[in-house]
């Protein structure tokens, strides 16, 4: 039961990253792929009407974690206090930049909100990347299951660690590159003209850059957490994750090479799923690893809610998920194809 909930919450996180990753990526590349005001409107129109739909998966993920692993939320959120507020403020700025930017047709107004859009999305990609690095590396968890962490300490991933060290910083860089590549793949699918051509170029370059970085990250992970690999090898799902990564990479590369935009984009989403799934399978059952003493680590079993709460959640979650899958189909159909920037207040975002 608890392993299933770990998989379900992991799956919701994957959906969130695959959806909001488009925003992060498009945000990071905004100034690079779009130069004129019309081109910039194309990028915004590809993201704008969808941001709350994407962001809501973070709320769905967070809420489900709260319901089934309440003690994880309590320990991790308090420990990452300031970093989480930074994320919150960036999420607020990102949403607002999209929402108010289009409201006034004025060049300076839109230039300003474009800047906020780029800034907030870039910082979000880096912060979420660092968070993923932290989950792999561990946190200075004390024996009472709490921790409190600085932004950085001595930049080494051992003992009394901070949010950023050389390991988590490199994971953050990797995440930023991958999410930018994901965003470029998405923009290739949804835009036309110069924005489309530049996005296609960036998608190739960034995905090519991601491959060696992935190798570096894997070696670094083996150094920082030498125990992980030996442990992961016995988890069949870890092998499934690896297979998914390989399959996704083939789909993505063939899609990019053949200029099949949908195929490349599906490959991009699957690749994110594979990377996150492999990582989650590697750390399971530990959800918060202690860098101070391994026996302080919290497992999914330590942080889970009582059996009744889990059983009730198993009743309503599938219903809620089926509904959200139906909405997903509706939204995907509504926003399929290339974006239009006609200014009649109907199609235009």
């Amino acid at each position: 039961m608890i392993a299933a909930w770990f998989a379900i919450t992991g799956f919701m996180l994957i959906v969130y990253v695959a959806l909001d990753g488009r925003n992060f990526g498009a945000g990071m590349l905004h100034w690079l792929v779009a130069r004129t005001p019309e081109e910039r409107r194309q990028v915004i129109a590809a993201i704008g009407p969808l941001w709350s739909w994407h962001e809501v998966w973070l709320v769905g993920f967070g809420g489900t974690v709260f319901a089934v692993f309440p003690k994880l939320l309590a320990s991790a959120f308090a420990g990452y206090y300031l970093a989480l507020f930074l994320i919150l403020w960036c999420l607020i700025l990102r949403g607002i930049s999209l929402e108010v930017g289009g409201h006034i047709n004025d060049r300076m107004w839109q230039e300003f909100w474009d800047f906020v859009f780029v800034f907030a999305n870039t910082l979000l990609a880096i912060l979420f990347g660092a968070a993923a690095g932290n989950l792999a590396r561990g946190v200075p968890l004390a024996s009472d299951g709490t921790f409190s962490m600085a932004f950085f300490t001595d930049f080494t991933p051992r003992g009394n660690v901070g949010l950023l060290d050389w390991y988590t910083a490199s994971v953050a860089l990797f995440a930023a590159v991958v999410l930018a590549a994901h965003g470029a793949t998405y923009l290739t699918l949804r835009t036309e003209g110069l924005v489309h051509d530049r996005s296609a170029g960036y998608a190739r370059v960034l995905w090519a850059a991601a491959a060696p970085l992935l190798l570096v990250i894997s070696i670094e992970s083996a150094v920082v957490r030498p125990d992980l690999l030996g442990h992961a090898m016995y988890n069949p799902l870890w092998w499934v994750g690896l297979l998914l990564v390989c399959g996704a990479a083939i789909t993505l590369i063939s899609g990019l090479a053949a200029r099949r935009e949908m195929r490349a984009f599906i490959g991009s989403n699957l690749l994110l799923a594979g990377l996150l799934g492999t990582g989650a399978a590697a750390i399971f059952p530990v959800v918060l690893h202690s860098t101070l003493a391994p026996e302080n680590s919290l497992t999914a079993y330590d942080v889970a809610a009582g059996p009744n709460s889990l059983a009730y959640a198993a009743i309503w979650w599938p219903i809620g998920f089926a509904l959200s899958a139906a909405y997903f189909v509706f939204v995907s159909r509504q926003y399929a194809g290339k974006v239009s920037i006609k200014r009649d207040n109907q199609d235009f975002y």
């Binding site: 009407p49 969808l50 709350s52 739909w53 809501v56 973070l58 709320v59 967070g62 809420g63 489900t64 709260f66 319901a67 089934v68 309440p70 003690k71 939320l73 309590a74 959120f77 308090a78 420990g79 990452y80 206090y81 300031l82 989480l84 507020f85 919150l88 403020w89 607020i92 949403g95 607002i96 929402e99 108010v100 409201h103 006034i104 047709n105 709490t146 409190s148 809610a305 009582g306 009744n308 709460s309 009730y312 959640a313 009743i315 309503w316 809620g320 998920f321 509904l323 959200s324 909405y327 997903f328 509706f330 939204v331 509504q334 926003y335 200014r343 207040n345 109907q346 199609d347 235009f348």
Partner: protein
């Protein structure tokens, strides 16, 4: 160590209170306005009259801005359970996590999937599906409200739980938890209050355009719908929902009722103070003007019923800010009463055909729109201050719930950050809504002739 700066629970309380109060300014309008959109959309579908579509096209812009600020200010609320209230999350997460997750799965997904279709999809969807999008958003926003109120009702009147082996709470019966009697009554009271906010906003804009002599056909609609819904909702807020809510407090939180009314000494024939100032140090209500027996009757059904005073309870179970609680409650009641009178008078004048020519009354209707926001806020202050010193009533104290690892300085820092960011949000929101109002909805005739000025 007695400096107020060194009390982390205090700063976490203030941060939560500030962010939730600010946040709730937006959903209350969303929840109120959503049904106006559904209603106009439905009329447009039935009659084919262009004026209803114009009204929806105009109000949906204000709705969209309001919705967006509601979304971005709502996410910090969920985060704060973990960041600032780790003790509480650890203790009660097995119960309240259920409804917070259900809110995401059943309400937010629905709302956010259809909000884009509602705002930008009129042409693409066609009238019937656009109506359904409005309905989906309205249902989503009310469902979201229900799950939040179930969560709050558990904190006010815990039911359906059991205590796990490690001392934390778990769900014993999900249906008992979801159908908590406190939740139903509080939901009804709260949703009627949200409709009051929505209808006052609609009526206020109708009054504004009438005073200006602009968009008169639209203004007439807004005045009529706003005052009709405003009168019905204002009355329902007081009776039966508000009355039932007070009876619940009287039955399950008698010490809270005593504090709300500033009653220090118990007894029968208890009166309701219309005016008076509680003096907690001297343990008395100063300069009271009371309606004798009213409290006994309202709370327990008989003028002779015994109503407890604060002195009947140990002081550590008293709400920790009795003055603020007392004033919040009394001002809420006063405002609620004024709302009924104002809307009833506006209805009478409207039926006599005199509303649009009564400039004085139009001015009052226009300037009245902030007061439902104040009354809603005061209502929530009454509920939440009245719950103190408990986080989960009778089970878990507020002083045990905050995050021990977060220093008060960190919390103060993030609180100041929110104040700054929310100030900017407020300025942007008001500026953009003001812009939409100055563009106005236009009139049906005008729309047929030429192009509406686009954004």
């Amino acid at each position: 160590m007695n400096s107020p700066f060194s009390d982390p629970a205090m700063w976490s309380r203030i941060q939560f209170a500030f962010t939730i109060t600010y946040h709730y300014l937006f959903p209350q309008l969303t929840m109120g306005l959503a049904w106006f959109l559904v209603y106009w959309k439905w009329l447009a579908l039935r009659t084919g009259n262009e004026k209803y579509d114009l009204a929806v096209r105009f109000w949906v812009k204000i709705f969209g801005l309001n919705f967006a600020v509601g979304v971005v200010t709502g996410i910090p609320m969920e985060f704060q359970f973990g960041t600032n209230w780790a003790g509480f999350s650890k203790y009660a997460g097995g119960v309240i996590g259920q409804t917070l997750a259900m809110e995401g799965m059943f309400a937010f997904f629905l709302e956010s999937a259809f909000i884009g279709a509602l705002i930008w999809g009129e042409k693409r969807l066609g009238p019937r599906y656009h109506f359904l999008a409005a309905l989906a958003v309205a249902l989503g926003s009310w469902t979201s409200g229900y799950f939040i109120i179930v969560t709050n009702a558990f904190m006010q009147y815990p039911v359906g739980y059991h205590i796990e082996a490690d001392g934390s709470l778990g769900i014993n019966s999900l249906s008992a938890y979801l159908l908590n009697s406190w939740a139903w009554i509080q939901f009804a009271h709260n949703q009627m209050a949200a409709l009051v906010t929505g209808s006052f906003a609609v009526a206020a804009l109708g009054a504004f355009y009438t005073l200006r002599g602009l968009h008169l056909e639209q203004a007439r609609m807004y005045l009529r719908s706003g005052t009709v819904v405003g009168l019905i909702a204002s009355m329902l807020v007081a009776f039966p929902t508000g009355d039932q809510q007070a009876k619940l407090v009287g039955n399950h939180q008698p010490v809270t009722l005593a504090a709300m009314e500033g009653r220090f000494v118990g007894g029968s024939m208890a009166g309701v103070a219309v005016i008076g100032q509680p003096n907690v140090a001297a343990r008395r209500l100063e300069n009271p003007i009371e309606i004798p027996g009213a409290l006994s009757f309202l709370a327990y059904g008989h003028f002779g019923s015994h109503v407890h005073g604060l002195d009947d309870f140990p002081q550590e179970s008293w709400p920790d800010n009795i003055e603020l609680l007392y004033y919040s409650f009394h001002l809420m009641i006063t405002l609620g009463t004024i709302f009924i009178v104002l809307m009833a008078y506006a209805r009478i004048q409207n039926l006599r055909g005199r509303l649009e020519s009564s400039r004085g009354l139009l001015w009052v209707l226009m300037l009245a729109f902030p007061f439902p926001y104040i009354a809603n806020t005061l209502g929530w202050m009454t509920a939440e201050l009245g719950r103190q010193p408990w986080l989960v009533y009778g089970l878990f104290r507020t002083s045990d719930g905050y995050s021990k690892v977060v220093s008060s300085g960190d919390t103060l820092f993030t609180l100041i950050g929110f104040v700054g960011l929310y100030f900017v949000l407020g300025v942007l929101f008001l500026g953009l809504v003001g812009r939409e109002i100055s563009h106005g909805p236009g009139d049906a005739l005008q729309a047929e002739h030429g192009k509406e000025p686009s954004v």
